[in-house]
């Protein structure tokens, strides 16, 4: 089977993120990285491939984003993907969740995957929803926040935590599964894999190549609009202690607890 893994380039965790007040979009300047949640999806794909319960012909990393997103794809292939697909087009800039989900579904459709894997959330957008949007466009069953996947008889047996405890769900293929970060410990790429990453095939696609209707994407195709930005309600800043001398730190904590009659 063919597994496609959706990945995203996000600002590095150490970068102070901000919204550009003119465009109301995330300022994507500064250091960037592969969305850390996506490394769990890549690892899950590799484990299915290596597990042998079902033959996996290839693992394809797929992203949508500006030119710089190529680096996220290089990281994804360094982590094991066989090749990658980059959907990049000016027309996509400013797409909301509805438009992004549609565009990703179209590029995935052109790959006809048997399984689409993705991380539970992006580090920047924190939407948690893309997997389920993509799945409905692709007319595939879908689950999010999956923490265990077992493959048998061409079906997936998935576990996840829902409202009332742990659910076990059997899912037929093809399917779209978003994985929680408890599913695995992603491997580190070998130096050889990092060096070889740029040699693996990378297809660049524009919206027209995969049949995306221009009116359905970008700012014009989006169904939501950011109207303004406000700071959160002010909360009195708490006191911060740096632990230099632990005995002293503990004394301060005890005094703080005592003052509030908590001990």
């Amino acid at each position: 089977m063919k597994i496609c893994v959706l990945v995203k380039e996000v600002p590095d965790a150490a970068v102070q993120k901000r919204i550009d007040p003119n465009t109301m979009r995330l300022d994507r300047g500064g250091e960037k990285n592969l969305n850390p949640f996506d490394t769990h999806a890549l690892e899950a794909a590799m484990q299915i491939k290596e597990g042998g319960a079902i033959p996996v012909e290839e693992v394809v990393a797929v992203t949508m984003g500006p030119d710089s997103a190529v680096r996220a794809l290089h990281k994804a292939v360094a982590l094991g993907a066989d090749r990658s697909v980059h959907l990049s087009d000016e027309a996509l800039a400013g797409s909301d969740v509805c438009a992004t989900g549609y565009a990703l579904a179209k590029v995935l459709e052109s790959e006809s995957p048997d399984l689409v894997l993705l991380g539970q959330q992006s580090d920047d957008g924190e939407c948690y929803t893309i997997g389920a949007v993509v799945a409905d466009h692709l007319r595939m069953p879908s689950l999010t926040q999956v923490i265990q996947i077992d493959v048998s008889d061409g079906k997936l047996r998935c576990e996840r935590q829902a409202e009332y405890g742990y659910d076990t769900v059997e899912v037929e293929l093809p399917a779209v599964i978003s994985v929680g970060d408890a599913i695995n410990e992603p491997r580190y790429p070998s130096l050889k894999a990092i060096m070889g990453a740029k040699k693996k095939p990378l297809d660049s696609k524009a919206t027209g190549d995969v049949g995306i209707e221009a009116g359905q994407v970008g700012e014009g195709g989006s169904k939501t609009k950011v109207l303004g930005l406000n700071p959160p309600p002010a909360k009195e800043a708490g006191e911060i202690i740096e632990d230099e001398d632990t005995n002293e730190t503990v004394e301060k904590i005890v005094a703080w607890l005592d003052e509030r009659k908590l001990i």
Binding site: R18, I19, M24, L26, D96, V97, C98, E126, T129, I130, G131, A132, V133, V134, A135, D136, H137, R139, M140, P141, S142, L143, T144, R157, Q161, A162, E163, G165, Y166, D167, T168, V169, E170, E172, A175, A182, S222, K223, T224, K225, V226, L227, G228, L229, N230, P232, K235, G238, I240, I241, D243, T246, T249, V250, E251, I253, L257, D258, R260, L262
Partner: protein, 324 residues
Amino acid sequence: MAGILVYALHDDEGNFNKNSLGAISEAAKLAGEVGGEAAALVVGEVADDACASLGNYGAAKVYRAKSVPEGLAQPIVDAMAKVIQDEGISYALFGGGLLGFEIGAGLTARLNAGVTMEVTAVKVDGGKLVVERPILQDSEIADVGYVSEPGIIIGRLNAFDAKESGGTAEVVDVDVELSEWSSKAKLVQRGEQRGADVNIEDADILVGGGRGLGAKEGFGLCEELAESMGGAVAATRAVVDAGWYPYAAQIGQTGKTVAPKLYLAAGVSGAIQHKVGMQNSENILAINKDPNAPIFEFSDLGVVGDLHKIVPKLTEAIKAKKGG
């Protein structure tokens, strides 16, 4: 188009989820201002009385799709999409939680509708809904509006309070044809409880353990500290999923919501999913070695340091103080 439709989630005993009830009350309040009425959608064989009782929270009408199974999102997307289209409903509102996110997302694709998530407040501007959506780890709040109807709103957990108004709802049965792909996922087991049954909701003092404990054994430190103060131990989702601590002790998005006198977070980063379950604690004390951990943004006392050094000494100091 008019009105707001809320998905009312229920457990296997037919009890409605409190976040769904909160969303119904919120919809009832908003419907008064945008026009139309608040309605709820219930799936499965839920009794007439139970459905009608949603009127007590503000639902004027309850659509019941008996043949649609509860517990997985896609069949419920089929049901909600049908009711929204047949009745010309303007907005769908979810009280948060995993299924709400999945159903809302599915509806977005199905109806080509705008969606907002993690919404903490909804207001009305010119007869249209505008939501407040915290972004960038709650450092900014975006006001987001909808370009067209219907619009999908997925609330943050505990964002909306359930208010009893004393009414009853009209119950309307709807026939829903499931999409072919909606029946390709099957619930084998629902709501399995893993690990011991512990009570964290009644504790005045909670010691919460997170990934920073390093290993399952790290919870020993939390248990000793909690014992010294007469409290209980809670956990983050990450460590519960990793099997370090029982599910019943989990705080946050899919776990419990607590508001103790003291919440002492040990090695807890303070991700939004955890924050929504404990931010109303009276006093929050956090110990974490990462000075950039989000938990320090909303703790009353933050200690930047190694919990493995600090917690044992703190336990000793508290014991000594209590003994002396």
